[in-house]
């Protein structure tokens, strides 16, 4: 297990005051006082790529800035393990054709056991993210802190055989966090259940304000013309994100708007072995398709460049067939870019049809293309929807909300308040207000 160094992402709650207001800052501080000094350990599968790593990159330093002692650990495993956990992920999202072999199960559990033996157990709350490190709870010796499983994916209709394998581990947790009530499996009864929406950090390199000159520089570096319409998409290369559907839609858009450009960006995450395969498949399907820019972190596209492309896009599309929440949509909306997206997972919470963007049915490429064209041809409409989207994110999906949610959960769960003088002091002083 490797501890992630987030010292480069230093944050203070006061940095957010211009966005959320001083009153909000005060309220967060008053919650933080109650758990000041509490040690919280987050464990996930990757330090780079995907929404979970993205969120932790901000949540960890922000939590530290309000007085919590937070560690972020990433499990160590070989590529075989991630091939297995990707299959588990797909099965949990509803791929009924997957059956794990005995050897795969053994490998999955072995990695959990090995990592658990390295885990620093001296915490007040341990938060395990997603299925990869899930079984670690079984192998954690001398477990005295509450353990929480944060499931970022939709478990409403899982593959029964894979769910049967995982469920006993899920039931060992003290609390579970899901994105939406409908994601909670009906047969999970026992652990506390929290419903928490993910969120974005408006000050991270991916979301902070950029000067137009900075955006232009990025576009020029990748040969994207700033004077022609840009259709953007930021996602892992993954079958659930339907990258081939994005290409089909773009082809239809091109028929109506010949000068449109597509910028598809994906990062190869450490825990996603399917990424390369789907990237190559996407490239193959894009052969001969003019103005399609398919870029990855291997092309030097990092958070800053993603930020620039999302800002420069005339419209962002997201055609996922299954989703957890989809922070790429949140990011685009925050930048005032309207989104055309499928009715999948948490997307309809963000895209209010006709207000912050347009919703389309899964695999309905013709409608998606029509909506994209509409937004390209009516800049005033794109501007209005984009501005509504930014406000919707400001009201509902900023990281300071997530921080408050986590603080409340820690107040709920930190059980050794009385035994730790620094926590006791904090609680007493806040309580005597």
């Amino acid at each position: 297990m490797v501890e992630v160094d987030v010292s480069g992402f230093s944050r203070s709650l006061s940095d957010y005051e211009p966005i959320i207001g001083s009153d909000e800052v005060k309220s967060i501080m008053s919650l933080a006082e109650r758990v000041r000094g509490a040690k919280v350990i987050h464990v996930n599968a990757t330090a780079y790529g995907g929404g979970v790593a993205e969120m932790l990159k901000s949540l960890v330093p922000l939590s530290r800035s309000v007085g919590l002692n937070v560690k972020w650990e990433v499990i160590t495993a070989n590529p075989d393990f991630f091939r297995i956990t990707k299959r588990i992920h797909n099965a949990l999202q509803g791929d009924m054709g997957i059956t794990l072999t005995e050897e795969e199960v053994r490998h999955y559990l072995r990695v959990a056991r090995d990592n658990a033996s390295e885990l620093d157990l001296d915490g007040d709350v341990v938060v395990i993210h997603d299925p990869q490190p899930l079984p670690m709870i079984k192998y954690a010796s001398n477990r005295r802190a509450p353990w929480v499983w944060r499931c970022h994916i939709d478990l409403s209709d899982p593959n029964p055989s894979v769910w049967a394998l995982l469920k006993p581990y899920v039931m060992m947790y003290d609390a579970l966090i899901f994105t939406m009530e409908s994601y909670v499996p009906r047969d999970v009864k026992g652990p506390k259940i929290y419903l928490r929406r993910p969120s974005i950090d408006p000050l991270s390199p991916k979301n902070k304000p950029l000067m137009p000159s900075e955006v232009l520089k990025v576009l020029s570096r990748y040969g994207v013309d700033p004077d022609r319409p840009i259709v953007g998409q930021v996602s892992r290369f993954d079958p659930w994100k339907d990258p081939l559907g994005v290409l089909k839609t773009f082809k239809l858009v091109k028929e109506r708007v010949p000068d449109a450009q597509l910028v598809m960006i994906g990062a190869f995450a450490h825990d996603d072995p399917e990424g390369v395969e789907w990237y190559e498949k996407t490239l193959k399907h894009a052969e001969g398709l003019r103005d399609a820019h398919i870029l990855t972190n291997h092309d030097g596209v990092g958070d800053y460049e993603v930020n620039a492309f999302q800002r420069a896009s005339t419209v962002v599309i997201q055609l996922s067939t299954r989703e957890g929440f989809c922070l790429a949509v949140t990011e685009a909306l925050w930048k005032g870019t309207p989104v055309v997206a499928t009715r999948a997972g948490g997307i309809p919470l963000q895209v209010i049809d006709g207000v912050t963007g347009y919703l389309v049915n899964r695999r309905d490429y013709a409608t998606a293309a029509r909506k994209v064209v509409e937004l390209i041809k009516r800049p005033w409409l794109a501007r209005t929807l984009g501005s509504n989207g930014r406000e919707h994110v400001r009201r509902n999906f900023l990281i300071t909300r997530l921080l408050r949610d986590y603080l409340r959960m820690q107040i709920d769960l930190v059980s050794n308040v009385a035994s730790r003088p620094e926590l006791q002091r904090a609680t007493v002083s806040a309580g005597s207000k």
Binding site: G21, D23, E24, S27, S30, L31, R34, M180, E181, S182, R186, K189, G190, K192, I193, L195, R196, R197, R343, P348, L349, I352, D353, G354, V355, L359, N388, E391, H392, R395, N396, F397, R401, R404, D405, R408, I411, D412, L413, V414, S415, N416, V417, A418, Q424, T427, G431, K433
Partner: protein
């Protein structure tokens, strides 16, 4: 003119973020035990700071939430803690100018029982809930049997069980109401508000309050429908009786339950979200015209006199 959220939003029950949890309990129980299930937590300048539901309060009282804090300050102390410690974040805040059709579609797409309506400064302007919309949908036939839309996965209690058991079932199974059943026959219904009310009336003696039997607090007048009746009948009962659910009975046996949200989602299945929105728009206008006509007539009568 398009109907906006602000045109139909209702006043929401509110508390300030630093008011004690006890205040929420009092608001929820209300006069005669008929207070709101959702209470909005506000900052002093009116911005939305969170939402607290009957379920959250039950979870706190059952020791599911804030258990560590309870160990430290005890139950009485817990009730004195500021409410924002227990509230949930609000993720469904929509601007007051939003078209009603968009808002209804948003609620239905996401299966939400409510949205909060806020102004440009994120200050609360009202709430739109299932119960705001359902009255507009009453008096229609839907061509769908109640038995097709009811929730069948029931949790029940017996009249003899203590309230503590009912509380545990509500918290564990995330329910806010339980049919009371004995020998296979329904005897009543017990809701989160009934339990909160019992606790509030016996503050300081939580153990005693929770040892009372379900029979003592349950509602005996059950609002019910039978599984073969049309969905419209269930909606009418929900509206006319102003209850949050109707039991579905075959004779005296409970077959299922239909909550306000179940009914709204089922109606939307039939009418489509746009269909629901256009009925609300049309009926809202009609009501407005009737009331304008009435007040005009009253004015004329007054002038005549």
């Amino acid at each position: 003119m398009t109907l906006r959220l602000r045109d139909v939003a209702e006043a929401a029950a509110t508390v300030l973020w630093d008011e004690p949890l006890l205040k929420v309990l009092e608001v929820m129980v209300g006069e005669g035990g008929e207070g709101p299930y959702r209470v909005v937590v506000l900052a002093r300048h009116g911005a939305v700071r969170g939402l607290i539901t009957g379920r959250i309060v039950l979870e706190v009282l059952a020791g599911w939430r804030a258990s560590a804090l309870r160990l430290k300050v005890g139950l009485r102390g817990l009730l004195e803690e500021p409410v924002h410690v227990f509230a949930d974040e609000v993720y469904n805040a929509l601007p007051h100018w939003l078209g009603l059709t968009s808002a209804i579609r948003y609620m239905l797409e996401n299966r939400l029982g409510y949205v909060l309506v806020v102004d440009e400064h994120a200050r609360l302007a009202g709430i739109v809930e299932e119960k705001t919309i359902l009255p507009y949908l009453a008096g229609k036939e839907y061509g769908v049997r109640v038995g097709e839309v009811m929730e069948r996965d029931l949790r029940t209690v017996t009249p003899e069980e203590p309230l503590r058991a009912a509380l545990a079932k509500m918290v564990t199974h995330m329910r806010r109401r339980l049919p009371v059943v004995r020998d296979g026959e329904v005897r009543g219904i017990v809701t989160a508000t009934d339990i909160l009310s019992a606790i509030l009336s016996n503050l300081g003696k939580l153990k005693e309050a929770l040892n009372r039997s379900v029979r003592e607090v349950m509602e005996r007048n059950i609002t019910h429908v039978n599984p073969d009746e049309d969905l419209g009948v269930a909606i009418r009962r929900l509206v006319e009786e102003d209850v949050s659910s109707v039991l579905v009975l075959s004779g005296n046996r409970v077959e299922g339950i239909v909550t306000r949200l179940d009914a709204l989602l089922a109606a939307a299945e039939v009418l489509g979200a746009d269909g629901v929105a256009s009925i609300v728009e049309a009926r809202h206008r009609w009501r407005g015209e009737v009331s304008a006509w009435r007040s005009g007539r009253t004015l004329k009568n007054n002038e005549a006199h």
